[in-house]
Amino acid sequence: MSTTLDQVVLLARRSVVRTVRQPANILGPLIFPMMLLAVNSGGLKAETHLPGFPTHSFVAFALAVPFIQGALFATMNSGTDLARDIQTGFLNRLSLTPMRGAALLAGQLGGAITLGVVQACFYLAVGLAVGVRPASGVGGVFVLLLFSALIALAFGAAGSFAALKTGSGEAVQSLFPIFFVFLFISSMNIPRNLIGVTWFRDAATINPVSYLIECVRSLIITGWNGEALALGFGIAGLVAVAALTLAGRALPQRLAR
């Protein structure tokens, strides 16, 4: 047991160190969501004058989006790194060692979760610096960090599955626009009940990303909203289980001994 744990720790550390050594992989997930937040919170501030808008601060409303965007970046980073391991033959060399397949996945995802939580702390710090105070208090901040870890796990596992299935970094990168579409066709910029165009409101309603955003948003602007939390954690948990199952099934094919 301790051997497996050692393997997980070693591989998680490698995953984190590798990401830290590539500044673009660190700066992208930190800076890009913050720029989008700045642009949108400035440009869409007038939206808070709409009747029924849930808060007077658009920054507080929009602060939920970087958490989900950060998780998308985690998907790309973890998937691309694993694909590179496959392409460079690192995974083949690992298969010659007694390392367990589960340890490989856990280590890779441990790195993604660590970075996801670091990103979440950064987004929270920026939010606090510009005057956002989470309505759910200190307890809500901990739940927010827990949720960030869960979505980093879920999306990281999805990226790992894509990498294991295709063995190509480019194929993993090509998933990014798809996730981007999911992000934009959601309630990221406006509450669903205020979306005027019916097809867009319907698309946002069936889009699971809306509920992930609304889970984070509820902790920041509403307080404790059981329904939003249950939906957010439920969907993130389902994605995590599905992606981990698929990645677990794809791994033996890549780690043939």
Binding site: V39, G42, G43, K45, I185, I195, G196, V197
Partner: protein, 255 residues
């Protein structure tokens, strides 16, 4: 004359490469469409915000931004192709073979314009299909497309200058990010008078704001800031043409 021959050959090759490769054609058409759907569809209620004085519907308001954005990114995407030509070694052979190298830059500019015209036609058809309303007449609407075409050329010259200095595909974010920022620091979602704080101050000095506001005034049939908008677009284009030509000299010097 020799410049034109070189330009025609470069433009034809670039357009041929783009329109025979699905991986290049589809994003070029899908990205603006996606932004159009996300902004015009998702944010249409913003038209009800007090002080939102655009006379046509919100779809028309966003159509102008997406059209200008597609023009700018048409230039940037062509810049990616220039970087790819350098990485693959084709550009070096082109520099050796071309009797007048200025024609190379002109050819890429013509190709950027050609590929954007296809995107613009596609966007326009979709726009009318989903209900954009045009208050402008037979002069106003062509003026909007002319403004966008000049912006396309300015963006191409910017991206070309970067590509010729760095000569690697890794320069992609350097070409793309400033264009993305300058576009989004303009009044994208609401008119300028509804912006507050720092974003208003940035938007006021952003030349793209003049272009965007004039573009929207054309579609509304109430042209305003026309001279300022064309002045800004032409100035950007002239400035970046110098940047691109100097980039060409640096690429020549690098061998």
């Amino acid at each position: 004359m020799r410049n034109l021959t070189v330009a025609r050959a470069v433009a034809w090759r670039t357009l041929h490469n783009v329109f025979t490769n699905k991986a290049l054609v589809i994003p070029q058409l899908a990205f603006p469409l996606f932004f159009f759907a996300a902004f015009a569809g998702g944010l249409s209620r913003i038209h009800n915000v007090p002080g939102f004085d655009f006379p046509e519907n919100y779809t028309s308001f966003q159509f102008v931004f997406v059209l200008l954005q597609s023009a700018a990114f048409g230039g940037v995407f062509t810049g990616f192709g220039i970087a790819r030509d350098f990485e693959g070694g084709f550009a070096k052979r082109l520099l050796l073979a071309a009797p007048h190298r200025t024609g190379i830059v002109l050819g890429y500019a013509a190709a950027a314009l050609g590929r954007w015209l296809v995107t613009a036609a596609f966007l326009t058809v979709v726009g009318f299909a989903v209900g954009i309303k045009v208050g402008g007449d037979g002069v106003d609407l062509p003026a909007l497309y002319l403004l966008a075409a000049i912006l396309n050329t300015a963006a191409l010259f910017w991206a070309c200058g970067v590509a010729m200095r760095l000569r690697t595909m890794q320069a992609g974010p350097i070409m793309q990010m400033p264009v993305f920022l300058v576009l989004f620091f303009a009044p994208v979602y609401v008119p300028l008078n509804l912006l507050n704080g720092w974003i208003h101050d940035v938007a006021v000095i952003n030349p793209v704001t003049r272009i965007l506001e004039a573009g929207r005034s054309f579609i509304a049939g109430q042209p305003t800031e026309v001279a300022a908008a064309f002045g800004a677009a032409v100035a950007l284009s002239a400035l970046f043409s110098v940047w691109a030509m100097r980039g060409l000299r640096k690429a020549e010097a690098a061998g």
